[in-house]
């Protein structure tokens, strides 16, 4: 084996790549001919934007697995017992939908604040606190739904239908709690004046996804239970 020590190439940050040498190409030149040198950030989305889609994809797969388990389990036996969903779920749905609206208001307020259009005295975090409160209210509402169900004698192991109800709603509630932690993080960063817009956008996307996921779960539970 030939061992050669050679100097690492001199990396000149002001020099453009060779335009004519694109090799295997793909996107060919990321740095356009005649363009100034740009950092990766110029053509790459910020990692948090990509990351949130990755996270949402993983969560979707998880709930897809739960859904397929529900469909297969229901179809494979005769012991499935249907029950009426606790009515408080519909109120919870409205609360969660409202929290998405308040988060959007918060996002616009914060964006305006970060753009210097509004002053700090207008409390840009106010609507974030409202969203946080609505999120907590939703989790409390879900807890009441579980209490309602257990009052009817339907526990986790009573019937596969109730098992799936508890598992799906608990898994979703855990993700909502994760979203609440995200909101707290955003509020803390905002108060420290260190909030990045991408963080807020990513948190908002997560929250809206939780919203949509809940509507999906509600329809699924309503149809299948």
């Amino acid at each position: 084996m030939a061992t050669t020590v050679h100097e690492p190439p001199k990396i000149d940050s002001d020099r453009l790549p060779d335009d004519g040498h694109t090799g295997n190409g793909g996107w060919k030149n990321l740095v356009p001919a005649g363009g100034g040198p740009r950092l990766a950030t110029d053509y790459s989305p910020p990692p948090s934007s990509t990351a949130i889609w990755v996270v949402l994809f993983a969560i979707s797969m998880m709930f897809a697995a739960f859904t397929s388990a529900l469909v297969v389990r229901k179809g494979s036996s005769l012991d499935w017992r249907s029950f009426t969903l606790p009515s408080i779920l519909y109120l919870n749905t409205l609360i969660l939908l409202a929290s998405s609206v308040t988060l959007e208001i918060a996002r616009h307020r914060v964006a305006a604040f970060m753009n210097g259009l509004k002053t700090r005295s207008e409390h840009p975090a106010r609507w974030l606190y409202v969203t946080l409160g609505l999120g907590l209210l939703f989790v409390a509402g879900q807890y009441l739904a579980w209490k309602q169900l257990s009052a009817q004698g339907l526990y986790l192991a009573t019937n596969p239908s109730s098992s799936f109800f508890y598992v799906l709603t608990a898994a979703h509630a855990l993700h909502i709690l994760g979203g609440l932690c995200g909101l707290l993080y955003v509020i803390r960063k905002l108060n420290n004046s260190t909030l990045r817009r991408n963080t807020l956008v990513a948190t908002a996307r997560y929250w809206h996804f939780m919203d949509a996921l809940w509507v999906y779960l509600l329809v699924l539970l309503w149809m299948k239970l």
Binding site: M1, A2, T3, T4, V5, H6, P8, P9, K10, I11, D12, S13, R15, P17, D18, H21, T22, G23, N24, G25, G26, W27, K28, N29, L30, V31, P37, R38, L39, A40, T41, S44, P45, P46, P47, S48, T50, A51, V54, V55, F57, A58, I59, M61, M62, A64, A65, A69, V72, R73, S76, S77, L78, D79, L156, A157, P160, S163, V167, A171
Partner: protein, 589 residues
């Protein structure tokens, strides 16, 4: 993109070597974890092999490991199954997934794309420590009263959910297994998140997707697979734990009587577990092997000194393997009682997946043909990888057909198949990667003579162990039996003894590697920055790389990753980050 703006080079021992945010340290931690896990897994396989060859022989000291499982040092059938389960679980999850993907990927993916670190270093650190916790939880099952679970690494229902009635280890052992794997899933999901965002967002200027080295492509594709597969396995484990501890009936059917006792569960679907498990389980095979494909291609290119026949097609093949891996999982369930039409439906993509696999092998073969390959430990193990991949892959043709699989299912033929194509091939990929990248990781060269000796002993040894498995399988030797007392199995005992001797010797040969690794780490010859005259970005930086990988600079990529066989100022290659204008005849226009 200044990831390191968020964290500076740590000075304390804890932050530098234990709870480090540096992807390079995390990569080494993953490697160390895989190394320990591999030694444990191999030791368990030795115990199993000795028991299979000399069933009633007392293994000195084994009773200390488990007084109930091996009274007087003689293994009980249940204990054999427990060791087998732990061997499979440790090897698949904590060696084949962590070493080629998490260990090498963590260390080299950010450097190969020109980044300072992963975009979420805290998640990265969590990913390792969560995985480490999963390993500890799994190991803890050795120390509970009735030992680890005996259900196999696939943990089929209803055995995984019916509790201690089903045998030793089916109580707390199963719970620990399920918890360990669920925790492991969290670790891998966090890792995948970082790998995907690193590849998509942190590529340095000039590094288009098609300029990524093949190893980086392999890690990226694997992380996409991991994201999908582990996100499905985790809920399956949660449901199984609930069946076990909360009395639900997701997987346990009605009227199940175990040890004379009617179980209270009703109506669960045992097939449901298999569907959920294998939806993860088959992609897991490719999670283990695709990084190997990328690593081996990367190494062969550096040693062939000329471009691959078609790098682009190889990338497409790895992508095709990833996509198809989700469509073939039913071939594990041909004899499960699944609808026979489903078997047919799963058989077609199973045969189809051989097409990208075959194209990959043909690209390697034709690229190697006529090349003046530099023979070193890394390139030898890369060749060994191809050999194992082909040998194991060929038997896959047989198993892909339901009518033949009915005969061969659950025999040693299957054991031979997956050990060659997944386990040994992936291990050879890990070894190749180690010999190739060790200089960059540790700053010292490994001993080449010992490396070559390690290769030849491992190569011959692996074939001596696993080729006879196919013969055993065709002779009807079923797997997972702890003894072979039937008349038709008795004549096969000498074959088992041959395999056992081969396994013991091949295992001993790994001590050469271990010695080489440890000795070279401390006393090896200091490594130059680019000992292999390779072209990708990891060889553009110092050895070992500084904390921020490129010493505060942002490299610019000017060339494709494998510009070998050219005339440049440094030799027959031009590095990706070299601004040198080089006329290359191999560029695809």
């Amino acid at each position: 993109m200044s990831v390191h703006a968020a964290h500076h080079a740590p000075t304390s021992f804890i932050r530098k070597h234990v709870f480090s945010l540096d992807h390079k340290v995390i990569g080494k931690q993953y490697y160390a974890l895989a190394l320990v896990a591999a030694m444990v897994g191999m030791f368990l396989s030795w115990l199993m092999r000795i028991h299979l060859a000399w069933t009633n022989a007392a293994i000195p000291g084994l009773q200390l490991l488990s007084a109930n499982g091996a009274p007087g040092g003689v293994m009980t059938p249940e204990y054999y199954l427990q060791l087998m389960t732990m061997h499979g679980t440790i090897m698949v999850f904590f060696v084949l997934t962590t070493a080629p993907f998490a260990a090498f990927g963590n260390f080299f993916l950010p450097i190969q794309v020109g980044a300072e670190d992963m975009p979420f270093p805290r998640f990265n650190m969590m990913s390792f420590w969560v995985t480490f916790t999963a390993f500890i939880v799994l190991m803890a099952s050795f120390f509970v009263s009735d030992g680890p679970t005996l259900g196999g690494w696939t943990q089929y229902a209803p055995l995984n959910a019916v509790g201690p009635l089903a045998g030793p280890g089916q109580g707390m052992g199963v719970i620990l297994w399920m918890a360990s794997i669920a925790i492991f899933c969290v670790g891998q999901l966090l890792g995948s998140l970082n790998f995907i965002t690193t590849t998509l967002d942190l590529r340095v200027k000039g590094m288009s997707l098609m300029r990524l080295p093949l190893s980086a492509w392999a890690w990226f594709i694997t992380s996409c697979m991991g994201l999908t597969a582990f996100a499905v396995l985790m809920p399956a484990c949660i449901l199984a734990i609930l069946d076990h501890v909360a009395g639900t009936s997701f997987f346990v059917p009605s009227n199940l009587v175990i040890s004379g006792q009617l179980l209270p569960h009703s109506g669960g679907s045992t097939l449901l577990w298999q569907h959920l498990f294998w939806f993860f389980g088959h992609p897991e095979v490719y999670i283990a092997i695709v990084p190997g494909i990328g690593i081996v291609s990367h190494i062969l290119l550096a040693n062939m000194r000329r471009p691959m026949l078609s790098q682009r097609v190889l990338i497409y093949c790895m992508g095709a393997l990833a996509v198809l891996s989700y469509m073939v999982y039913g071939h594990h369930m041909f004899v499960s009682g699944m609808n026979p039409y489903s078997s047919l439906a799963f058989s077609f993509p199973t045969l189809a997946i051989t097409i990208p696999a075959t194209i990959t092998v043909l690209i390697w073969t034709f690229s190697l043909y006529g090349s003046k390959l530099r023979i070193n430990a890394a390139s030898l193990f890369a060749l060994g990888f191809i050999s194992m991949f082909v040998s194991g892959g060929v038997s896959g043709f047989f198993l892909a057909q339901p009518s033949i699989d009915i005969m061969l299912h659950a025999t040693y033929f299957v054991v031979g198949h997956f050990h060659l194509v997944m386990a040994v091939a992936a291990m050879f990929g890990i070894f190749a990667g180690t010999y190739f990248w060790f200089p960059k990781m540790a700053g010292r060269m490994m001993n080449e003579t010992l490396g070559k000796a390690h290769f030849w002993l491992s190569f011959v040894g692996a074939y001596c162990i696993f080729m006879p498995f196919h013969y055993l399988g065709m002779a009807g030797n079923v797997r997972r039996y702890s003894t072979f007392v039937d008349d038709y199995l008795q004549p096969l005992i000498p074959v088992h003894r041959f395999i056992t001797v081969a396994a013991l010797l091949t295992g001993c040969a790994q001590l050469i590697f271990l010695y080489n690794l440890i000795h070279s780490r401390f006393w090896g010859k200091p490594a130059p920055d680019n000992p292999w005259e390779a072209t990708s970005l990891e060889w553009s930086t110092a050895t070992p790389p500084p904390f921020d990988n490129f010493g505060g600079k942002h490299p610019i990529v000017y060339h494709d990753p494998y510009q070998y066989g050219v005339q440049s100022s440094v030799g027959d290659y031009v590095m990706q980050a070299s601004p040198e204008q080089v006329k290359t005849e191999h560029d695809e226009k």
